[in-house]
C-alpha cells in the first residue's frame, strides 16, 4: 500500500489571534518511525491533537489511516493508539486489569483480548508480573506496559507523546526496541521527544518552529543539509530562529 497513513495539507489552528499551527503539510508512510520535534510552544501538541481527532482544525485538511480529521474523528480514534507521558495507566489496577480494560475500550473480543495480552506479556517478558499493581512498578516498566496497552488493539499507527521522559538509559533503549519491533511489524510510529539522540532512531524527522514545519527529512539528510554532526545541532540551529516566546 503506497497511500500514506497520514496526509496533511495546509493544516492551521488558531486560538483567537494566536496561530498555534500555521499551514503545515506533510505525509507519513506506513511502517515509518516519524519523529515530530519542536521546541516548547512550537505547536507540536496542538498539531498532534488535531491528528488524533481531539481538536478541530481552523483550516486545511488531513487524513489519518484513511479517515478525514475534520469529519471522522471518532473513526480515527478507534484506528490509532495513543500514549502520553502524563496519562498512561491506572495505578490502582494490575498490569493485566489495565490491559483488559483497554482491550474492552477498543472492543476486542474475549479471545482476541486474552491472546493479545499473552503476546504482549511475552514480548515484555513480564508474564510473572501480570498481577502486580501498576502503581508499584518502576517508571520505566510503566512506560513499557503503557506502550503495549496502546498497541494492544493492533492499531495501524501509534502516537507517542514524549514516551521516555525521565526513564533510565537502559529502559529507554528497551523502550525503543519495542518501537523498532512494532515498526518492523508494520505499525506506523508517530513520536515526539526531547532526547535528540532518539531523533536518530526515526526514519524521518520533522522539526516545527513557531507553528511551521521548518525541516523534514531523514536524520542523515538533515545533518548533511545543515552540515552538522548530530541531530542536536540541527535542532538548535532551527530552534534558534524561533521568534515567538509563547
Amino acid at each position: 500500500m503506497n497511500e500514506p497513513i497520514i496526509h496533511v495539507e495546509n493544516l492551521c489552528k488558531k486560538f483567537d489571534d494566536f496561530t498555534a499551527v500555521n499551514q503545515i503539510s506533510f505525509d507519513v508512510s506506513r511502517g515509518e518511525i516519524f519523529g515530530f520535534l519542536g521546541a516548547n510552544g512550537a505547536g507540536k501538541t496542538t498539531a498532534m491533537r488535531m491528528l488524533c481527532g481531539l481538536s478541530f482544525p481552523t483550516s486545511g485538511m488531513g487524513t489519518v489511516a484513511g479517515f478525514n480529521i475534520r469529519t471522522e474523528g471518532e473513526k480515527i480514534k478507534s484506528h490509532i493508539g495513543y500514549m502520553s507521558q502524563r496519562f498512561s495507566l491506572y495505578d490502582d489496577l494490575t498490569v493485566f486489569e489495565n490491559m483488559k480494560l483497554y482491550a474492552g475500550i477498543y472492543g476486542l473480543s474475549r479471545q482476541q483480548t486474552l491472546q493479545s495480552i499473552d503476546e504482549k506479556l511475552e514480548q515484555l517478558q513480564f508474564a510473572s508480573e501480570k498481577n502486580t499493581l501498576v502503581g508499584a512498578l518502576p517508571l520505566g516498566w510503566k512506560q513499557k506496559v503503557a506502550f503495549s496497552v496502546a498497541t494492544l488493539h493492533r492499531p495501524e499507527i501509534v502516537f507517542l507523546d514524549e514516551p521516555t521522559g525521565g526513564v533510565d538509559p537502559i529502559t529507554r533503549r528497551q523502550f525503543w526496541e519495542l518501537i523498532y519491533n512494532a515498526a518492523a511489524n508494520g505499525t506506523t510510529i508517530f513520536v515526539t521527544t526531547h532526547y535528540m539522540d532518539e531523533a536518530e532512531y526515526c526514519s524521518r524527522v520533522s522539526i516545527m518552529v513557531d507553528g511551521k514545519i521548518e525541516a523534514l527529512d531523514s536524520p542523515k539528510k538533515l545533518k548533511e543539509q545543515f552540515s552538522v554532526q548530530s541531530m542536536d545541532e540541527v535542532f538548535r540551529t532551527l530552534a534558534r530562529r524561533a521568534k515567538r516566546t509563547e
Binding site: 521546541a39 525521565g166 526513564v167 533510565d168 529502559t171 518492523a184 539522540d197 524561533a242 516566546t245
Partner: protein, 302 residues
C-alpha cells in the same frame, strides 16, 4: 570548608527506600550534578538538604550548618527551585519576583546585578501572567526568584526537565555565569548529555550513588571496549549482533548502536560475520564512551 557535606543519608517512605546511605561533598563554588532517572532519589535528597524533610539515618551540613539542628540558618542562605513549576501562575512575572524578594526581605534593585543577565531576558514580559510563559521562560523566572536574595548555595531540582534542547543549553549557560560569581550549585537532571556542564557529577539510580567524579574522569576510566555499529536496517543489525554469542551487550544509541564488548574486537571479522547475517552498508568502529555509556555500564554492574 565544603559547602555541602552529606554522610550516609538514608530516607524511607514506608517500605520504600528512597535514599540509601548516600555520601558526598560539594566544595565552595562548585557546580555539582546529580544525574539519574526518575526514582533515583534526587528530589528526596534535595528536600533533606533544603531542610524540608528529616533523614532516617545519616547527617548533612550546608554552609557548615547542620540540616536538623540549624535548619533555620540554612533557610537564610540557600536558594531552592523544586522540581515542579514553583511559581504562581496567576501572578505576573513582576509580581512573582516582587513577592519572592519580599519573602526574603530584599528588593529586586538590591541584588539586581546578580540576576540582571537572566531578568533582562524576561523583563519584556514582566506584566504577563507566569502561567502563560513558555517552558524556557518559566524556568528563567523561577531561577530569578531563587536567586533574588543572593544565596550562597543554589539547589536546582531537575530545572531542565521537559524543556527543549535549546532552552536547556541556555539554562546551563546561565548556571556557568552564576558559578563565576562564586555561587555553589547542586543541580539534578535526568539528561545525561548535561553532565559535561558540571564540575563533578554523581550518577545515581534507585536511591544509590553509583559513582562520583569529574565527567572527564568517568569517561577516561571506562575500561570496557566500546564499539559503534550502524547499518541500513538498524533493528535487524541489533538482532544480528545479539545472535552472535559472547559479543557483550548492545544498545541502540541514536545514529549508532553501542556494543559493550567483552574483549577487543577484530572489526573486519565482526563486519564479515554481520554481513553474512544480512546487514548491508555496515560501519563498525571503536569509540570513546559518553556519560550515558558509563551509566549503562554501572547499572549493569549493580
Amino acid at each position: 570548608m565544603n559547602m555541602i557535606e552529606v554522610n550516609g543519608l538514608t530516607k524511607r517512605y514506608g517500605n520504600v527506600l528512597a535514599l540509601s546511605a548516600v555520601s558526598f561533598s560539594v566544595a565552595e563554588g562548585e557546580l555539582f550534578g546529580l544525574i539519574g532517572p526518575d526514582g533515583a532519589g534526587k528530589t528526596t535528597l534535595f528536600r533533606l538538604l533544603a531542610t524540608l524533610l528529616n533523614a532516617d539515618e545519616g547527617t548533612a551540613t550546608v554552609n557548615g550548618f547542620d540540616v536538623v539542628k540549624d535548619y533555620k540558618s540554612i533557610r537564610n542562605c540557600v536558594g531552592y527551585m523544586p522540581g515542579k513549576f514553583s511559581l504562581y501562575p496567576d501572578l505576573s512575572v513582576k509580581e512573582n519576583v516582587d513577592f519572592f524578594a519580599a519573602l526574603f526581605g530584599v528588593t529586586l534593585e538590591e541584588n539586581y546585578d546578580l540576576i540582571a543577565p537572566i531578568y533582562k531576558q524576561i523583563e519584556p514580559f514582566k506584566d504577563r501572567r507566569a502561567g502563560k510563559l513558555s517552558g524556557g521562560m518559566k524556568q528563567k523566572l523561577a531561577l530569578c526568584c531563587a536567586l533574588i536574595h543572593k544565596p550562597k548555595v543554589l539547589f536546582l531540582d531537575e530545572p531542565t526537565t521537559g524543556v527543549d534542547a535549546v532552552s536547556r543549553s541556555e539554562f546551563w549557560d546561565m548556571l556557568s555565569n552564576l558559578k563565576q560569581k562564586g555561587i555553589t550549585m547542586l543541580v539534578s537532571t535526568p539528561y545525561m548529555d548535561e553532565a559535561s556542564r558540571c564540575d563533578r557529577i554523581a550518577l545515581c539510580n534507585e536511591g544509590k550513588i553509583l559513582c562520583i567524579d569529574a565527567p572527564a574522569n568517568l569517561t577516561k576510566n571506562f575500561d570496557t571496549p566500546l564499539y559503534a555499529l550502524a547499518a541500513d536496517d538498524m533493528f535487524a543489525l541489533l538482532n544480528a549482533v545479539r545472535s552472535i554469542p559472547n559479543m557483550g551487550d548492545v544498545y541502540p544509541f541514536g545514529e549508532f548502536h553501542h556494543l559493550f564488548s567483552h574483549s577487543e574486537l577484530d572489526c573486519g571479522k565482526v563486519s564479515d560475520e554481520l554481513s553474512k547475517k544480512g546487514c548491508n552498508n555496515l560501519t563498525i568502529k571503536k569509540i570513546e564512551p559518553t556519560i550515558e555509556d558509563v551509566f549503562i555500564k554501572l547499572m549493569n554492574n549493580e
